[in-house]
Symmetry: C2
Amino acid sequence: MTEADLGADPEADLIARRARLMGPNVPTFYRAPVEIVRGEGVWLWDASGRRYLDCYNNVAHVGHCHPHVVAAIARQAGLLATHTRYLHRGVLDYLERLMATFGHGIAQGIMVCTGSEANDVALRMAQAATGRRGIIATDATYHGNTTAVHALSARRTPVGGHPDHIRFVPAPDGLAPAGGSAAAEAQRLGAAVAAAAADLEAAGHGVAALILCPVFANEGLPAVPRGHLDAAVAAVRGAGGLVIADEVQPGFGRTGSHFWAHDRLGLAPDIVTLGKPMGNGYPVAAVLARPGPMAAFRERTGYFNTFGGNPVAAAAAAAVLDVIEAEGLMAHAARVGAETLARLQALRHPWLRQVRAEGLFFALEFRDEAGAPAGEFVARLVEAMVARGVLLNRVGAGGQILKIRPPMPFGSEHAEILARALAEALAATPPRP
Amino acid sequence: MTEADLGADPEADLIARRARLMGPNVPTFYRAPVEIVRGEGVWLWDASGRRYLDCYNNVAHVGHCHPHVVAAIARQAGLLATHTRYLHRGVLDYLERLMATFGHGIAQGIMVCTGSEANDVALRMAQAATGRRGIIATDATYHGNTTAVHALSARRTPVGGHPDHIRFVPAPDGLAPAGGSAAAEAQRLGAAVAAAAADLEAAGHGVAALILCPVFANEGLPAVPRGHLDAAVAAVRGAGGLVIADEVQPGFGRTGSHFWAHDRLGLAPDIVTLGKPMGNGYPVAAVLARPGPMAAFRERTGYFNTFGGNPVAAAAAAAVLDVIEAEGLMAHAARVGAETLARLQALRHPWLRQVRAEGLFFALEFRDEAGAPAGEFVARLVEAMVARGVLLNRVGAGGQILKIRPPMPFGSEHAEILARALAEALAATPPRP
């Protein structure tokens, strides 16, 4: 060991290497990013051997490195890893099984690699089915990173400006029903969508689709009762448009009550997109649809995705369904979700305005005495939690919402650790720096 | 076994299931699609146990199910499969090693999942770096399947029409130099690019980039000598645009002479995209660039890709580099490529107009007596090869070019099998049906 080595901070070295090899502004979590080297269940370990409770990562849906999924990947990778231009039973068996979880006419699928690719296809599918271009999205959402899908993020302006065929409507606000009624909120959303649709018609684009996440995950999980979206959906359908449900975050049983979050709302989307949790880390995603939009898209584009639906992707995704079923993870999410919610609701802090949950997905919204988003406070709270060995993060336009979305095997004992750490962190973090 | 089972054709059943579960017009290879169930090296087996020589799949770059890559995937999938928002040495070690294969200032990378995602990022990177939108591509190319990238395929019109900021130039024609001189062809291409650039300027878009595959794989591998693109590149650079080299097909040593095909041309792209062969089937791809365009893109978009560069993707990609080095696959491609080319050049057929090669990548162009593309004949030739247990395919605007692009461990013994089967198939396939 040299003198330089003795003084070197390995984490600082990794950060410098990242900047050198990946460029500036590469997003990391946390002020002092952690070097994670191992995962198992709901636990992650850093390079120094320190263990963290993972309360954030939904990609590892059935738990980090679940042995059943790892074995399925290893077995199929050693047998065949081609593409869907040859016939293979794996992708068909998987799609058949997946379709059985859907009602309301969703019957066909395209396998892709990422949620971004899925949403990119979904937008074109709606356009092909309607012959119109216009897309309506909420104003604080994120549906992915391709050019077409990233244009749905209101915050960043593409070179040449936002495409003219996109309109934004205000997302449901988790706190607004406290001021008005839920019914008034639903009417407000419906009126906003109707106005956006009329505007798209006037601009000559017409309406192809309304796209939304059925739990509004990036908007901070506002409480949206069943029927809340009916007026919005009626406005889109009245203009001849389709409904796209982005299930990338809430899907695969996370909400506890339903395998797909749109079913909880009584929403019957024409197109559904899946992503992150689908392969427990293996890059696999999908677009599912009614036969009409699917045929229109297939006809229009002749779409093919080299890695999408390859035998290993299908095996990984099938293994995830196996584990969800064998371990009863949806019922587990309902039970532990309710238990965790009760623990979180018992927390006391003057700025904690609302605790919201959908199964194993939680949002704690913080506002200061004046009602302003307490983003800076929540940022320090997140760091205080990391220091206590609990990984989570924040969301919301002002970053004022603590986002908790653990792997599904998250159990009562983990809920207890989380709640205790949060109580400590809340007590130890001054409202202002 | 029931009576229905006795009469059932399992392949027909799979085709019907595909149509039911995936919709119509899902692309397959071959009139009677094969059900492939196992792969090893350059061999694939169908469900009946029949063995096929794979002369087409470049995804399985170091050979189907290479044990070193499979082991790397299995090991890392069992250890950790998160994302790059935590620090991890795997992705940095890989990028460092990959960058060492590049000259001319390519020094930083973004890991993504597919070649389509890579090209989608590359276009925006050029736009962010130049502040301009215009993209110039060749008129018979394919760079991927996202909305933005698919718009570079001249054959399909998106809903609402082709974006106004794209211009197509005629690709180099493999047979044209026979009519004129290579120098005249190069000047023609340069003039076409200059005209496209002027047109983009006049339309107010300006020029962001020229994107091309440095072996023009989808155009049928026209013979493009070193320096051939100089005039085209000068025209783009003169307009302030960048050059994007799409190395998805020719990269990772396939051409035998150079690890990256753009180096063979003396081309110094600002941005390079990688895909298919990178993980030997694991969905991993990348965008590499000079620091300037990278910083402009990172600043503009805050790009993050959930699965891109995850520890398993990095391990798979690193294992592919291991095998390329350990088995000397680039030198092997040069040696066996030359040997195979000689065998293919010895084939005789009145319609076989030209045999072209770049290492282990071959194109055989067929034209009838009148010089018209013999696409229908080549389609039957492909089927005759499948019947002889050799998998390959065709390309070119008229489908008149036999495309041969085997996994890299393709050896002399396989070249002999290929050439013998081709001689037989040529003799057995009548020019007209």
